[in-house]
């Protein structure tokens, strides 16, 4: 019995949610990513770490095509989400971004009420209204571990919240459109340690229902929250493996230098 269970679990581990194949990205004439290959597993937290300027933000922003809004950005290669290439020109980016939510480096709530922030996505997609919408907002806020702190002041401005609360609100806002994947682009870099701890534990709990990809330049964070870690350097994936392996037994000198703090 135990072997069957183990096999089932292994299968789950093996399921690839996003497959990045030979991805190269240019901004103008500068090549930012060089033939990146990466398999992102479903219901796991995958961390992408590396020194600043290594292309990790560009990589994560390719996964929901946010780079589209940057002028003269060119991509080559493929990114398969559930087996479909999302870089294909026939893909509806609006539909894609519903499935792949994103949380940004700096908390960016709209200057609206807390409720309206979370309800923004469901409203524009016509997902729910009235009681149903109220429930969806509550569920999202609970999932983002913010409900208890804000339940009495949902009509207050989102900008009255602290930085950490704002970031969890942004997570709740992303959850409300019921995505499959959540991308987080250095979500804690603007937060204090206490708020960071809350977001980190949130990431771990989110993987039950979502696939989480987090970009960080903080390797301790990668070690604490992720199941898999990719180390990106000068636009190339230097190492990608189980987080424990990357940190305890890195196969590449550069990775070793980075995690032992010799540069970064």
């Amino acid at each position: 019995m135990s072997s069957r269970l183990k096999e089932g679990k292994e299968n789950l581990v093996e399921r690839t949610k996003i497959q990045v194949k030979d991805l190269s990205v240019w901004f103008g004439s500068t090549q930012v990513l060089r033939g990146v290959n990466l398999d992102i597993k479903e219901n796991r937290v995958t961390a992408i770490m590396g020194p600043s300027g290594c292309g990790k933000s560009t990589l994560i922003r390719t996964l929901n095509r946010m780079n589209d809004i940057i002028a003269n950005c060119r991509t080559d290669g493929a990114v398969l989400l559930n087996g479909r290439n999302i870089l294909d020109s026939t893909i509806d980016v609006v539909e894609l971004r519903r499935k792949v939510g994103m949380v940004f480096q700096k908390p960016n709530p709209f200057p609206k009420s807390i409720y309206d922030n979370v309800a923004f996505g469901p409203k524009i997609h016509g997902m729910a209204r009235g009681r149903e919408l109220d429930e969806l907002v509550e569920r999202s806020l609970r999932d983002a571990a913010l409900w208890d702190e804000v339940k009495d002041r949902l009509k207050m401005s989102a900008l009255s919240l602290s930085g950490g609360q704002q970031q969890r609100l942004c997570i709740a806002r992303a959850l409300a459109v019921e995505p499959e994947v959540i991308l987080m682009d250095e979500p804690c870099s603007a937060l204090d340690p206490a708020a960071t701890a809350k977001i980190e534990s949130l990431m771990v709990s989110l993987k039950k229902n979502y696939t989480v990809v987090v970009v960080t330049h903080n390797m301790q964070q990668a070690a604490r929250v992720s199941d898999f870690t990719a180390f990106l350097y000068l636009g190339e994936v230097i190492e990608y493996n189980d987080t424990k392996v990357v940190f305890n037994n890195p196969s590449n000198r550069l990775t070793e230098d980075f995690i032992t703090g010799r540069f970064g």
């Binding site: 929901n64 946010m66 940057i70 609006v94 539909e95 994103m102 200057p111 524009i124 009255s160 806002r173």
Partner: protein
């Protein structure tokens, strides 16, 4: 004092003097008009028609004409101007983006076209070719052409002042371009866009050369009743009274009064624009 200190001293004296000259000239100018104009400006001056061959009475028809011009120009230029600004600023990277570069350049060149040239266009296109004649319609269409680049440039600036983060947030939630604009950009850009439009219209209100060629009249016994009528206008009234009448010295007080009314109207519009901006800023801040 070293040579270097002396140089600096002279330079900064010149700088301060220049600033003083500019401000002093401006103050003198406004003061001169107020001092000479306020004696004649009264309710009857504002609400009466000119009498005795324009040498007495008020300037109501000219005020009325200018207000009509502003309203019509607004109706023509605003929708197109705002739509252009939204397209230029918010639809970057769409398949028409090379078009954006050209149209924006066109808009910038338009902004530098002399107003008399707009007048020529209005004369040729609206008065003669399309047969609108010398009329409110021809003049306001001409003025809307003239204000369009101003509205576009200023509204674009208002749109640019909305943080990119709002757009990213909306797009990342799967909002379409228009949903992003409608819900995450426009609400915060509207005050700036209103301000921009009022400023552009205040410019239109003071323009003389274009309406000179397209429909402004020296004197009309009746107010215009349709957009195909000719009209009197404040700036044109100033021009004709001070240069075209037989003895301009007799009507000098009326001229000063008209100048004061025109300046008050134009600067009043500027003030309203500034107040609207301040009001919305306060509201946004209350939200913060």
């Amino acid at each position: 004092m070293t040579n270097r200190e002396l140089k600096a001293k002279i330079a900064f004296t010149a700088i301060r003097a220049s600033a003083l000259i500019v401000v002093a000239v401006a103050c003198l100018l406004i003061l001169h008009i107020v001092v000479n104009g306020y004696k004649i400006v009264s309710w009857s001056f504002i609400l009466d028609s000119p009498r005795r061959g324009m040498t007495a009475g008020g300037i109501f028809p000219a005020i009325y004409g200018t207000v009509c011009l502003i309203v019509l120009t607004l109706a023509f230029a605003l929708p197109i101007g705002l739509a252009s600004a939204i397209y230029f600023s918010e639809y970057f990277g769409s398949k028409w983006s090379s078009l954006v570069i050209i149209t924006r350049a066109a808009s910038n060149i338009l902004a530098g076209v002399p107003s008399i040239v707009y007048g020529l266009l209005g004369l040729g296109l609206f008065v003669l070719l399309t047969g609108f004649g010398f009329s409110l319609l021809s003049s306001s269409l001409t003025l809307s052409f003239l204000t369009l680049p101003v509205i576009i440039a200023a509204s674009e600036e208002a749109l640019h002042s909305v943080p990119l983060a709002y757009r990213e947030a909306a797009l990342a939630l799967g909002a379409t371009r228009w949903q992003t604009v409608r819900h995450a950009v426009l609400p915060y850009a509207i005050p700036g866009m209103i301000t921009a439009s009022i400023l552009a219209l205040s410019r239109a209100a003071g323009e003389t050369a274009p309406i000179l060629l397209t429909g402004a009249a020296y004197f009309l016994p009746r107010l215009p009743t349709s957009i195909f009528d000719q009209f009197m206008a404040l700036p044109f009234h100033i021009f004709t009274l001070s240069t075209q009448s037989v003895n301009p010295a007799i009507t000098r007080p009326i001229q000063y009064g008209t100048v004061l009314v025109l300046i008050s109207l134009v600067l009043g519009m500027n003030l309203v624009a500034i107040m609207i901006r301040a009001y919305y800023r306060k509201r946004v801040r209350a939200l913060l």
